[in-house]
């Protein structure tokens, strides 16, 4: 496509060297046929959080938090107050009796924490002059408490009162926090996962005790998520994926994802250089309870929790690092990347070897092998017949910078945010058209004719 514009003189090497799938413009399975560009931020937009069925909040390096109506694309509120970039954002739903009420907690580099009312745009609570900036937030709705993690771990109640505080010995601080059963919390600190237990005394005072330190990772932990009630998973910078038992805190499975060159290259001596760590870094993990989707470098890796095996993977799913992923269903997933695109994938069964397959696929037909170093012995992936493939079903191109994150509102659409300061609202054109027709006839009825 580019070639004819350039007059054919330009080298095609870049195109041919690039083995990333290019789906082309014909995407029958892509239902996002309408978009709205939402402007308002002045810097990189890093976070998106869903407030309710039709609202989402975006936050970024400009310290602004904007609340959007994703049905109309209107900007509902503009939450101003932070002077520096937002480092974490979370929703806090307070369920007092019959009404549930959602507010937003934000943390910023200006070492402050704020509680916002997204309906009015008011800053309800604010705490400034923290000792360090908060890197992650965890809301324990069951206990009506929330935790902030940075260089220290703080526990707050819903009225923004500090319940207890715990200093860390690690200099990197807490990068991720998840909730575990039995009032436990797992915090990722550099290469370790520390398990804390919250103890609520009779006078409702809260204390935190460190129970366990899990140091099975070889490198910095990049992602830490809950899979289901009994499992959680962590991923490290060098591609280690460890599945943990949530109550016993022991390793259930260990995968070291090393993108290997295809076996077809007999000249094994050529691949002397080990893959760069960034190519294997687990940037993001997502799960639906049965499958774990890991963003590894610029590739995707789907791991089944039940069989503890890899289901499907693609080493080069994007042109650049994958930043955010999501499992839409057991077979559909979505990823966004620094290359500015969002891609939708489908986990499909392999075609029979006899069938002619597209060269695009076979060109990068690879069998990676999970290479175990320690931990439980992995099954031989190679021999598993039921490995499936990730087929690209569509891509969304609109952002001119890296797509940081996206939030799906199911049939209402998809919101993406990017370093180009924009949010894009992707919608199903047919559905929108139908909604507009409804509105039209409603208005027609109200005004009693044209």
């Amino acid at each position: 496509m580019l070639r004819w514009i350039l007059g054919g003189r330009e080298a095609q090497s870049s195109v041919e060297k690039n083995s990333v799938l290019c789906i082309g413009e014909d995407q029958p399975k892509n239902c996002f046929t309408e978009l709205q560009v939402l402007k308002g931020h002045f810097d990189i937009v890093r976070f998106l959080v869903q407030i309710d069925d039709f609202r989402c909040a975006s936050a970024g390096d400009d310290g602004l938090v904007l609340v959007w109506n994703i049905e109309t694309g209107e900007r509902l509120q503009e939450l101003r107050g932070h002077s520096q970039q937002i480092t974490a954002i979370a929703t806090f739903t307070c369920n007092n009796g019959h009404t549930s009420y959602t507010s937003l907690i934000t943390a910023s580099s200006d070492r402050s924490l704020s509680l916002w009312n997204p309906d009015t745009g008011n800053r309800v609570q604010t705490i400034s002059d923290l000792q360090s900036s908060v890197k992650c937030l965890l809301v324990l709705e069951r206990l009506c408490l929330w935790l902030s993690g940075g260089e220290e771990l703080c526990v707050w109640n819903k009225d923004f009162q500090l319940q207890c505080q715990r200093q860390n010995h690690s200099d990197t601080g807490i990068t991720a926090l998840i909730e575990l059963p039995k009032n436990c919390v797992a915090a990722a600190m550099d290469k370790e996962i520390v398990i804390y237990r919250l103890m609520v005394a009779a006078d409702s005072s809260v204390s935190v005790a460190e129970i366990r330190c899990l140091s099975d990772h070889q490198d910095q932990i990049r992602a830490l998520i809950n899979v289901n009630d009994g499992l959680f998973v962590s991923g490290s910078h060098v591609g280690e994926l460890i599945l943990w038992d949530a109550t016993e805190w022991n390793v259930l499975a260990y995968e070291h994802i090393l993108w290997e060159e295809p076996q077809s290259c007999a000249q094994a001596e050529i691949r002397l250089a080990a893959p760069k760590p960034s190519e294997m870094s687990i940037q993001h993990l997502s799960t639906n309870g049965r499958l774990i989707l890991a963003a590894v470098g610029s590739g995707l890796y789907v791991y089944s929790v039940l069989t503890k095996t890899v289901v499907a993977y693609r080493k080069l799913a994007h042109d650049s690092n994958v930043l955010h992923t999501m499992l839409l269903s057991d077979s559909e997933l979505m990823s966004c990347s620094e290359d500015g695109s969002v891609r939708m994938w489908e986990i499909q069964d392999l075609p029979l070897p006899a069938e002619p397959a597209s060269s695009g696929f076979f060109g990068m037909w690879t069998f990676g092998r999970s290479n175990k170093q320690t931990g439980p012995p992995p099954k031989k992936v190679m021999e598993i017949p039921n490995i499936r493939m990730l087929e690209l079903t569509g891509d969304l191109i609109g952002h001119s910078g890296a797509v940081q994150m996206f939030v799906s509102f199911k049939e209402n659409g998809l919101v993406t945010c990017s370093t180009d300061h924009l949010l894009i609202l992707w919608k199903n054109g047919e559905r929108q058209s139908h909604l507009r027709s409804l509105a039209l006839f409603k208005k027609l009825e109200e005004s009693g004719g044209l």
Binding site: Q27, E34, L38, G73, L440, F441
Partner: protein
């Protein structure tokens, strides 16, 4: 339209006796003669008019030189051509029906101001081929005879029926203009009265002191001749003070005067403002204010009689006083100045500057809105009336009508020249009542417009100083009458003989005059002077103008010999246009656009004229029968095709003789009604073309774009794909290195962009930086610069990145990259073997097609069953099926054609839900679909 024989045939008696009329044969009145006479153009009826298009003429009945034209709108000598404005001024000023009488009415001691209502007359001069709506009005001037200056504004057209049928609206607009002028004039008059009163009081005080001195000197000289003279003078001054005070009272009571004129609605704010001003003045001069108020200064200035010096000396003399009194009173000479010594005020001076400008604006606007011939005006009006009802789909392919609304509102709202509602300027800085020397300086700074006789005489500083010179009683002088006569003679000699014109036309025009206003004065003597002698004329003209110049104190401008100048200009214009033709493009478009529109207009005209019940026409006058029975004039001269043979262009050097030759020609051709040379000789200028008559600039541009679009369609075999992309909402990027070519392509393709916005906001003609997704959302047609630089590569990157949303037309390599189109809907507007040759034809063809498309989209959008379920039983797939059935089977649209309709429907929906997109804070939606693009090559 086609000619009177056809009309006769249509109305012949044996029409009903025809045995079996063939239903398929066109009625005769619709048939076009297959072989028209070689020298006759059926569309262009001869008009004898020597001007090329309608104009507005403002004339004055000057007490010094008689009727004289002051200015024309548009202010372009080419417009009038050889038309004798002086003569026509005489004609129109001679039918002044204002019930005016001035001077001292019996029984009142003071001169009375007459509050005359304007009169409206339609006047025809069949010899000149000119008809005019004439609006007479009277302005007040302290220095004028009887304090009044008769003026008239005339809308001059060669089409009588145009004036008759537009009478109401013309009347409305000119009344408005007249109100502007009169409101300003009252204000200025009050100011002048005030100044005069000051002068008089000052004079009075001086005289009183002198008398006192004399009285002191001794009783022996009490009854000397000198003393008696002084006493008389004093009495005179006192009398005139009373008179002026009374005038001031009268002018301020103007608004209490009942108006008979239904059109005379004035702005309430203006009235109150003016009233309060006048009352303030009245208050000031209610009593014979201190007779000695200026006595202290009188002594020093007594001897200074030269008025012109006073100002200058004063300035040095007493700055403090001057600052306090912004106007220095002057001594009034008892002896009245000669009528011709003084310079009469110009129209601009007579009316307040603001009001004058507002009037000119209004008249210009009027001139613009009446451009075009009757059928054009009528069809445009019909068109607009129709489109007002089509607001829902109107925005798609039609140019904006927004300002039409304002027009209607403007007529209905009370007239206010200074626009009190919107314009705060006059409120913040009300004009000073006391005029100082500053305005003079200001005026002197202005560049006098050489074309404008008003400004010509108005900018000499000393003329301002003479203002105080006016005498109290301006008696009718013989001089004036003489001038009037001589000027009449002048005009008479210039008016060419047209014996060829039968007397048959005269009664008609007279009758038409009578229909509007009782006309005691028919046409001037047709046999007045049979010797057309241009040289003599110009000499006379020069004489009269030089006479005028003498009185005004020297100006180098000479407006007397307009005629030859304008002719020469016509010639040069002709040459210029021919050069243009050599250049090709523009002129070709020009001429192309012309003819079919004429034809269409003429077609429409017939039906319109005989259809008395047409709702849009102004209420018909009793004269309607007379008017309708006349042979229709097609007034638009056919241009360019006929210019070549015109004597005018052949002999530019003999410019002075030309009018005669042309006229003889005209006379010789007068019978058969095909005076092409005439119209050609004067009608060659560009401004007179029917494109110019369009008025709406965008429409004109769109028509011109029609030629470009036609060329695009004929040149590129893949034009149909490009048009489909535009119509189905896919942004088309025109990529090219040459700005001109890209811009031309964009201008041509802009015709196909649905809902381009009021001023084409959705089109970006030339972009030289990489575009973003937001740009794609905003613009539907982009001209993109191809550059070989880092910027260029990033641009190419954005092109390839967003390639799924756009179609790319490479103007340099002549390729188009866009999805495939297999529909048939566009084949009739994008057929590269089309037989349409003219851009305007193609434009109309296109308009028709697009209009049908819009209608289909409207139907689709507002048909409930295509979008919503009828009952609970049926699912969405039933609706989908109905929709598909409608699109594919009933409308016979293919998949791609349906996309056009869906896109238009989406636009209609959006427009209906959010009439003004600016109001909703939400970002606009951008729809697209994922289909493979193909590369088309030429």
């Amino acid at each position: 339209m086609i000619g009177s024989p056809d009309v006769v045939a249509f109305t012949k008696e044996d029409e009903y006796s025809q045995a079996n009329p063939d239903l398929w044969v066109l009625p005769e009145e619709f048939s076009v003669p297959l072989h028209p006479l070689a020298d006759s153009n059926p569309w262009a009826k001869t008009s004898y008019a020597k001007f090329t298009k309608d104009f507005i003429l403002i004339s004055e009945f000057s007490e010094q030189v008689g009727p004289q034209p002051l200015l024309t709108i548009p202010d372009d000598p080419k417009i009038c051509g050889t038309f004798d404005l002086n003569y026509f001024s005489l004609r129109i000023m001679s039918v002044d029906y204002q019930a005016s009488f001035v001077g001292h009415p019996p029984g009142s001691g003071y001169p009375r101001l007459s509050f005359v209502e304007d009169s409206r007359v339609v006047l025809g001069d069949s010899k000149e081929g000119a008809f005019a709506y004439v609006h007479h009005l009277t302005l007040y001037d302290l220095e004028a005879r009887g304090f009044v200056r008769p003026f008239c504004m005339a809308y001059v057209s060669a089409d009588e029926r145009k004036i008759m049928l537009q009478f109401q609206e013309l009347s409305l607009r000119f009344s408005q203009a007249s109100e502007y002028l009169k409101a300003g004039n009252r204000r200025a008059f009050a100011k002048e009265l005030q100044r005069k009163l000051r002068d008089l009081e000052y004079t009075h005080s001086v005289l009183q002191r002198e008398e006192g001195l004399q009285r002191e000197a001794g009783p022996q000289c009490m009854y000397s001749a000198h003393a008696v003279e002084k006493a008389n003078e004093l009495a005179n001054v006192e009398k005139s003070i009373y008179e002026h005070r009374d005038l001031l009272r009268q002018i301020s009571s103007y608004h209490r005067h009942p108006r008979r004129d239904p059109h005379a609605v004035t702005c309430q704010k203006c009235i109150t403002e003016c009233l309060s001003e006048c009352e303030e003045l009245l208050e000031k001069y209610a009593k014979f204010s201190g007779p000695f108020s200026y006595a202290n200064r009188a002594g020093t200035e007594e001897e200074r009689q030269g008025r012109t010096e006073i100002e200058g000396v004063e300035e040095e003399e007493d700055e403090a006083i001057k600052r306090r009194l912004s106007y220095t009173p002057q001594l009034i000479k008892a002896k009245s100045a000669k009528c011709f010594d003084k310079r009469l005020k110009t129209l601009k001076e007579l009316c307040d500057e603001t009001f004058y400008e507002a009037t000119m604006e209004l008249l210009k606007e009027t001139e613009r809105s009446f451009r075009g011939d009757l059928c054009y005006l009528h069809t445009r009006r019909l068109d607009r009336a129709l489109r007002k009802k089509l607001r829902v789909t109107d925005f798609l392919f039609e140019e904006d009508l927004g300002h039409d609304d304002e027009e209607d509102v403007g007529i209905l709202r009370p007239f206010c020249a200074v626009n009190h509602a919107a314009d705060n300027y006059t409120l913040q800085n009300p004009p000073h009542i006391v005029l100082g020397p500053e305005p003079v300086e200001l005026e002197a700074l202005e560049h006098p417009d050489p074309q404008d006789p008003v400004s010509e005489t108005g900018h000499t500083p000393e003329s301002e100083l003479r203002l105080g010179q006016g005498q109290m009683d301006s008696s009718p002088s013989d001089q004036t009458l003489e001038t009037q006569e001589s000027s009449e003679e002048t005009k008479g000699s210039f008016s060419s003989d047209k014996s060829g014109v039968g007397p048959a036309e005269k009664p008609q025009s007279v009758a038409s005059i009578k229909s509007v206003a009782p006309d005691p004065d028919p046409d001037p003597d047709p046999d007045s002077d049979l010797t057309p002698d241009p040289k003599h004329n110009t000499d006379l003209e020069r004489e009269s103008s030089s006479e005028e110049l003498e009185t005004t104190g020297g100006e180098d401008e000479n407006d007397g010999d307009q005629t030859p100048v304008s002719l020469l200009e016509v010639v040069s214009e002709l040459e210029a246009s021919r050069e243009d033709e050599c250049e090709g493009l523009a002129a070709e478009v020009h001429s192309d656009l012309l003819v079919p529109i004429d034809a269409a207009c003429c077609m429409a005209q017939e039906g319109f004229l005989y259809e008395a019940s047409a709702p849009e026409t102004a209420p018909h006058q009793p004269s309607q029968v007379l008017v309708v029975n006349q042979e229709p004039h097609a007034l638009l001269p056919i241009q360019n095709d006929y210019t070549v043979g015109s004597p005018c262009s052949e002999s530019p050097t003999t410019g002075l003789e030309l009018p005669v030759g042309v006229l003889c020609d005209a006379v010789s051709h007068a019978e058969d009604g095909s005076d092409c040379t005439m119209s050609a000789s004067t009608g060659s200028d560009r401004a007179a073309s029917p494109i110019g008559y369009g008025g709406v600039v965008t429409l004109r541009q769109r028509r011109r774009a029609g030629q470009g679009a036609l060329r695009f369609v004929r040149q590129y075999p893949f034009a149909i794909q490009a048009l489909w992309c535009l119509l189905s909402g896919r942004t088309l990027v025109v990529l090219g290195a040459d700005e001109g070519r890209v811009r031309r392509l964009v201008a041509a393709l802009a015709l196909f962009v649905p809902a381009p916005g009021k001023c084409g906001e959705r089109i970006q003609a030339w972009l030289s930086c990489p575009f973003t997704l937001t740009d794609l959302q905003r613009w539907k047609l982009i001209g993109l610069q191809r550059v070989a630089s880092p910027v260029g590569s990033s641009m190419l990157y954005s092109l390839s990145r967003y390639s799924r949303y756009i179609a790319i037309l490479d103007a340099d390599q002549k390729t188009l990259r866009c999805p495939a189109y297999h529909g048939k809907l566009l084949s009739n507007i994008a057929d590269h073997r089309t037989y349409i040759r003219r851009g305007s034809t193609y434009f109309l063809h296109l308009q028709g097609t697009l209009c049908r498309l819009a209608a289909k989209a409207f139907l689709y959008t507002f048909t409930h069953h295509f979008h919503l379920t009828v009952s609970f039983m049926e699912g969405p797939e039933v609706v989908e099926g109905r929709r598909r059935c409608f699109l594919q089977e009933q409308l016979g649209l293919s998949e791609e054609d349906s996309q056009i309709l869906l896109y238009l429907s989406q636009l209609i929906t959006q427009q209906y839900l959010h009439p003004s997109t600016g109001s909703s804070s939400a970002a606009p939606c951008f729809s697209f679909n994922y289909t493979t693009s193909l590369l088309y090559k030429i």
